[in-house]
């Protein structure tokens, strides 16, 4: 079958290129907004990605990953005694202040964990080793935060509270858009940092003490025994441990992502940007299709005079719209993937474009172009075939 749509489309190349640029722009805008929203929500629960735990036990006041009250360290031992628990480890996360240079400060989030443990391992580690975090006041930071924290690399020092820290390990790409830079350390070091007043560095600091049952931690990470029913284990943990809430890792991630998406304006703003992209794309495609149909009105009138059904002509216009959608989507998406890779590498801002987003944006692009075709279709519907008998 002769593709009148495709031939019409490529007949006027400059106009075709302008149309495709418009669609590319719309695809880019929608994809980047969606990618940023995905990256943002994923980033908000980034710490859970470093864990292989099945269940996170926290204070029953927990709102989301970064907003909760501490629980006593003894909950760890209590959790280990619950039937169905194979392994349990403590985790501390709390905000603090990083001091560097002369009177310079920066917000940080201290993450204390068991460097020999198995349930929490921030990856990838690109320099140093986790074992060195057991050294007093040893820390690990991410390479993307080196500049922010004014650290040159391994062996550099700075201050948290009244303690001088040693950078003994460096991770890569563990940075959250919604959180301060992560400072990873051992549980003992974390407790020492968080209990230390902001003061001049102690010249000969004592070795951080071991955690006591009454020491404060943030989470107990639990690994269930194989084939254990997690919902039942959660209930057993909540019964056995006073004043706690138990969530599966996915539940905690969802809770945190929902909070950032809904309780802040970020989801709305990025969604609005995507809608603007769709509107821009629809207008651009609509204009191009409308003017293309106007230019070929006599030919469409001829088809009508010859006895073509309206649907035959609608198919031509819709096919033209689909070609525009596909040929605008492919380079638009390629561009977004390139931009996403660049922002992740250069700025650690994740524009997360997964298969679902890619397919979703394609569907939106097709819908956008098909919707834009409605204007052109209306023009053809109103077209009187007698137009063919008017001299040109």
């Amino acid at each position: 079958m002769v593709s009148i749509a495709r031939k019409n489309l490529f007949q006027d190349l400059p106009r075709f290129i302008v149309a495709q640029a418009g669609i590319m722009f719309a695809v880019g805008l929608v994809t980047i907004q969606m990618g940023l929203l995905n990256g943002f929500t994923r980033s908000s629960s980034l710490l859970t990605d470093s864990s292989t735990a099945d269940i996170w036990v926290a204070s029953q006041e927990l709102r989301y990953l970064d907003l909760t009250l501490p629980i006593p360290y003894e909950r760890l031992e209590q959790a280990r005694n619950v039937n169905g628990v194979e392994q349990a480890e403590a985790l501390i996360t709390q905000g603090s202040v990083w001091r560097y240079g002369i009177s310079q400060i920066a917000p940080i989030r201290i993450v204390g964990f068991d460097p020999e443990g198995e349930l929490f391992q921030p990856e990838p580690l690109i320099e140093g080793s986790w074992a060195e975090l057991n050294n007093p006041y040893a820390i690990a930071i991410d390479r993307l935060d080196l500049t922010t924290l004014d650290v040159t690399g391994l062996g550099d020092t700075s201050e948290i509270g009244s303690f001088r820290t040693d950078v003994v390990a460096i991770t890569s790409g563990i940075r959250s858009i919604v959180s301060s830079p992560f400072v990873f350390t051992s549980l003992n070091n974390a407790t020492a940092f968080l209990n230390s007043p902001v003061a001049a560095p102690v010249s000969d600091p004592p070795v951080p003490p071991e955690l006591q049952p009454e020491s404060l931690i943030t989470f107990v990470l639990v690994k269930a025994r194989p084939d254990e029913n997690l919902q039942q284990l959660k209930r057993r943990l909540e019964v056995a441990l006073p004043d706690v809430m138990a969530l599966t890792q996915d539940e905690l991630a969802d809770l945190t992502q929902d909070y950032w998406r809904q309780s802040t304006g970020v989801g709305f703003i990025l969604g609005l940007g995507a809608v603007v992209g769709i509107i821009v794309g629809t207008v651009v495609v609509g204009q191009i299709l409308y003017s293309s149909v106007s230019d070929h009105l006599r030919e469409f009138g001829t088809l009508k005079a010859m006895g073509s059904s309206d649907w035959f002509i609608y198919r031509i216009i819709l096919e033209q719209a689909l070609w525009m959608a596909v040929l605008g989507y492919l380079p638009g998406m390629a561009l977004c993937l390139g931009v996403g890779a660049w922002t992740l590498e250069a700025q650690a801002v994740q524009i997360l474009i997964g298969p679902t987003t890619a397919v979703g944006v394609f569907v939106v692009t097709v819908a956008m172009c098909s919707g834009a075709a409605v204007f052109a279709i209306q023009k053809v519907t109103r077209l009187d075939p007698a137009v063919v008998f008017k001299s040109s």
């Binding site: 079958m1 002769v2 009148i4 031939k7 019409n8 490529f10 007949q11 070929h296 006599r298 030919e299 009138g301 001829t302 088809l303 009508k304 005079a305 010859m306 006895g307 073509s308 059904s309 035959f312 075939p385 007698a386 063919v388 008998f389 001299s391 040109s392």
Partner: protein, 251 residues
């Protein structure tokens, strides 16, 4: 050998062999309403024999093209009745009229109205696609029709690369797609010089006779009168009983 696709494009509307291919009775056409109403056709009676080549002549604004549009089932008359190939079409719905045109009428236009983005062969093939003939069958038939109009070597050319006469030949080939029983032509020679115009009409006459088509042609051109079987003259929305002296003088 009959076209294999002819059976595919038959509709519920029968097209039997009849004495008159076109029969119009008291056809009226009024444009506008109230004080602005303009009566373009004032009770036209016309019968065209099957297989005839008939010219519809008259000055500009006489109502020729309006009459052609009505006889082609494109415009619905304000009054009177029209029967094509034995089928009364005045009461038919728009979709049924479109189907009738698709299956039985070929059109040739003054401005050619070819798709500029399609080659000559593709323009003919598109008309066949419209009649649900697709693929290789449509391509072969398109080239056969182009060969019939003497353009076998121009099938791959875009309309912009063809002369006016060649474009009109493509339009004729397109109008013959699907073997219509009626050919309606609106000023087919208007954009051509007299020599090319005559060649086109001679070709049209030859093909129409070969394909057993009835041809109704609106024209201003008195130099092709001798190629027609019959001529009717329209003036002020009415058919004149005989050729006006101005036309006789021109001929």
């Amino acid at each position: 050998m009959p076209f294999p696709f002819m059976t595919d494009i038959q509709t519920d509307i029968a097209a039997p062999n009849v004495q008159y291919a076109i029969s119009a009775e008291r056809v009226e056409m009024v444009f506008g309403s109230g004080d602005q109403a303009f009566k373009a056709l004032k009770g036209i009676d016309l019968k065209i024999l099957t297989g005839d080549i008939q010219l519809l002549m008259g000055p500009s604004g006489s109502g020729k093209t309006t009459l052609l549009s009505i006889l082609g089932g494109i415009l619905t008359p304000s009054g009177g009745s029209v029967s094509l190939l034995g089928q009364e079409i005045t009461g038919l719905s728009r979709p049924k009229l479109a189907k009738f045109r698709l299956n039985h009428i070929g059109f040739i236009f003054q401005g050619f109205n070819l798709f500029p983005a399609l080659t000559a062969a593709e323009n003919v093939e598109a008309a066949l696609n419209l009649k649900r003939v697709y693929g290789r069958e449509a391509r072969q038939e398109a080239w056969r029709l182009l060969e019939q109009v003497g353009l076998a070597d121009k099938g791959d050319n875009l309309p912009q690369d063809l002369s006016g006469g060649q474009k009109q030949r493509v339009a004729i080939a397109r109008s013959l797609a699907g073997k219509p029983r009626l050919l309606l032509a609106d000023e087919p020679t208007a954009a051509l010089d007299s020599q090319r115009g005559r060649i086109i009409i001679e070709l049209l006459r030859k093909l129409a006779k070969e394909e057993c088509c009835t041809v109704l042609m609106v024209t201003h051109d008195p130099r092709i009168i001798d190629l027609a079987d019959r001529v009717v003259y329209v003036e002020d929305g009415m058919i004149l009983p005989e050729a006006p002296s101005s036309f006789t003088h021109l001929v």
